[in-house]
């Protein structure tokens, strides 16, 4: 395969008979990715810890208004003060403290919604994959309808009716996100269903429920864990977009999304208000993605997701 770059024909190395050195290199690369994932997991742990212990870590009260210090720049710029390392917003609240508190909302929505959509999606996927037939057809049609709908559009429409709040947001994102689990779980369940141990279980007179939960589900956990991890990142982005539009977490409660939305109004003079919360979203989702990819490599290198 390496021969392609030199433009020569090398039929020996083109086939499946990859030399041991190449295979070793591939597994080293995978190991490297896993190591990156570990590092990402560590950073993520710091982010989670700062959100959980926000009251002890944050230098200021995230809601404390200080009109005399409004729109203060970060500490390293002219006019910045060390008391507010990342500056202050339009009513003089400390940006760093608000960011630390904002992580609570994003992480909570991310985790709760993912738990919800994973439960719905896995149950439907197992049902569709195991029983097949018209049940399978109806579930997969629903999946197709949901996947056609842009996630954002669906969330917007539901929030429009229910009204914005934290619980509604978790509900909307949880309900909107299940099809991806269903699709993967169904395909895997269909394959596992044909394996000998399932047939043996059935021959021994196991009930369908017992086969599904004791024999099929355990085989799917790594796939589910990987999707769920990557999905947390997607949900965090969706949540912050809704909050950014003013349809999610309502001010003055700090959330990365609504801070970004407020910051947009002041971006002409005070770039930091919109920049830092977005950076927080970026770093968090990046770390989650890196960890998810590493998890996939670690659990099952052949998984195709």
């Amino acid at each position: 395969m390496t021969s392609l770059s030199e433009g020569k024909i090398d039929l020996v190395t083109l086939g499946d008979t990859a030399p041991a050195a190449a295979r070793e290199r591939a597994s080293l690369r995978r190991l490297g990715r896993v190591r990156w994932g570990l590092a990402a997991g560590f950073v993520l742990l710091l982010i989670v810890a700062s959100a959980v212990f926000a009251p002890w870590i944050a230098p200021h009260d995230p809601l404390a208004v200080n009109i005399r210090h409004r729109l203060g720049p970060p500490a390293w710029m002219d006019g910045g003060v060390p008391a507010h390392p990342l500056g202050t917003d339009q009513v003089g609240r400390d940006l760093l403290s608000r960011m630390i508190y904002g992580g609570r909302v994003s992480l909570m929505v991310g985790i709760c919604s993912v738990l919800m959509s994973a439960s719905i999606g896995v149950l439907l996927g197992l049902t569709a994959g195991y029983f097949g037939g018209s049940l399978d057809w109806s579930i997969m049609t629903l999946v197709n309808v949901m996947l056609t709908f842009p996630f954002v559009l669906l969330a917007l429409a539901v929030i429009a009716v229910l009204g914005p709040s934290l619980v509604n947001m978790i509900f909307v994102l949880g309900v909107a996100g299940w099809p991806i689990y269903t699709r993967v779980v169904r395909a895997e369940a269909m394959a596992v269903r044909e394996r000998e141990f399932v047939l043996a279980g059935r021959a021994l007179g196991m009930s369908h429920l017992r086969i599904i939960f004791r024999q099929i589900l355990p085989n799917l956990t790594s796939a589910i864990v990987v999707i769920a991890t990557l999905q947390v990142a997607q949900v965090i982005i969706a949540e912050s977009f809704l909050s950014f539009l003013g349809l999610g977490i309502q001010p003055p409660t700090p959330a990365w999304g609504n801070m970004l939305g407020e910051g947009r109004l002041y971006m002409l003079n005070s770039w930091w208000i919109a920049t830092f919360p977005g950076l927080a979203i970026f770093v968090t989702t990046l770390m989650i993605n890196l960890m998810g990819n590493a998890l996939r490599d670690w659990l099952d290198p052949h998984m195709k997701l």
Binding site: V152, A160, N293
Partner: protein, 345 residues
């Protein structure tokens, strides 16, 4: 022994996951020039049925969001309205009738483009949404073009120089790109290019300059996925026998890549673009709100703020219709391009 064998027979012949609907395939098998056409016709028919089912599903979903999750009267009347007032309105709007009757009325009106009047502006919702459709569609296609301009060359390059620094750089950028929230990227671009450098307009829809930032933003979010698929598609094709044959024949490497590899790698790419089109349109919604683009999405967000449900409903259904139609077209196009689907091989 006999019993064991009997049981085995009873258990094992279950349809495997990869079994295609066999009766149809059996019937058309048998060769002859009509066979390919029959397969194709059946394929098109199946796609059309699926298209209709999905559209029906979307209409149910859009109806249910307003009528099952919420109560239109509660949203329409002021909160201090009396109980009789609510009942009168409910009757007036036909909301006291069974849900399936209401849905049927909604559907039969929607088919002829009647989504009711906007509660906010005194115009039909359908016309309001239709007027705002062109900017959204232009933006979506501009984003698609940008995504292809980024992902095709980089994906091919990464595939040909696997594990080189180019490949690693592409992967890194793709991972970072997937983690970047689109709306934040848009705002950062506005801060840098409009506020600081004063090079590009921050919003508006009048000249080509207005297209640059929004379409780049949108394209940049689709590019990572497309690039990965182009890369894996080209890698897969480059290992196939006909590439070796071409090389063995002495065909120039550039020609092998362009004529033999790229064409075949196109099929998964086109399919994925079709599948991603919904997400692309979703991205266009986000982009519109950041750059104040006068498209359907800004209208939808405005309408949500004004609680103008006929418009929201109409916009949601029309956008979904666009997505489903594009998916259908892509599926059919792939079938025409790929002889394996066309002939049912």
């Amino acid at each position: 022994m006999d019993r064991d064998a009997a049981e085995e027979v009873e258990i094992s012949p279950r349809p495997g996951p990869l079994t295609l609907p066999s009766p149809q395939r059996e019937r058309v098998r048998g060769g002859g020039p009509g066979r390919a056409r029959a397969v194709m016709r059946r394929y098109i028919a199946r796609q059309l049925v699926q298209f209709l089912v999905v559209i029906l599903g979307i209409s149910i979903l859009a109806f249910a969001i307003l009528h099952v999750l919420g109560d239109p009267v509660l949203l329409l009347l002021p909160q201090n309205a009396g109980k009789e007032e609510f009942e009168r309105y409910r009757h007036l709007l036909g909301l006291d009738r069974p849900l399936y009757v209401q849905y049927w009325k909604f559907l039969s009106n929607a088919v002829v483009g009647n989504f009711g009047k906007s509660w906010y502006a005194d115009t039909p919702a359908f016309r309001l949404v239709l007027e705002r459709m062109p900017p959204t569609i232009y933006l979506t296609f501009a984003g698609l073009v940008v995504a292809l301009l980024i992902s095709l060359p980089l994906g091919i390059l990464a595939a040909l120089k696997r594990h080189s620094w180019v490949d690693n750089l592409c992967t890194t950028v793709a991972v970072a790109g997937q983690a970047t929230p689109l709306f934040w990227l848009g705002i950062m671009m506005i801060i840098v290019f409009s506020v600081r450098l004063k090079l590009l307009p921050a919003s508006g829809y009048d000249s080509w300059e207005n297209f640059l930032m929004p379409s780049f933003c949108l394209g940049a979010t689709l590019a990572p996925i497309t690039m990965r698929l182009v890369r894996s598609g080209v890698i897969e094709v480059m290992n196939m026998d006909f590439i070796k044959t071409a090389r063995a024949k002495g065909v120039a490497e550039s020609r092998v890549v362009i004529k033999h590899a790229f064409r075949n790698a196109c099929i998964p790419v086109i399919t994925v673009i079709g599948l991603q089109f919904g997400q692309l349109l979703g991205g266009a919604i986000i982009t519109e709100t950041v750059f104040a683009w006068p498209g359907v999405a800004t209208l939808t967000v405005e309408s949500i703020r004004n609680q103008d449900f006929p418009v929201v409903q109409c916009a949601v259904i029309l956008l979904a219709l666009v997505i489903v139609s594009v998916n259908l077209i892509v599926d059919l196009a792939v079938a025409f391009i790929d002889p394996r689907i066309r002939t049912g091989a």
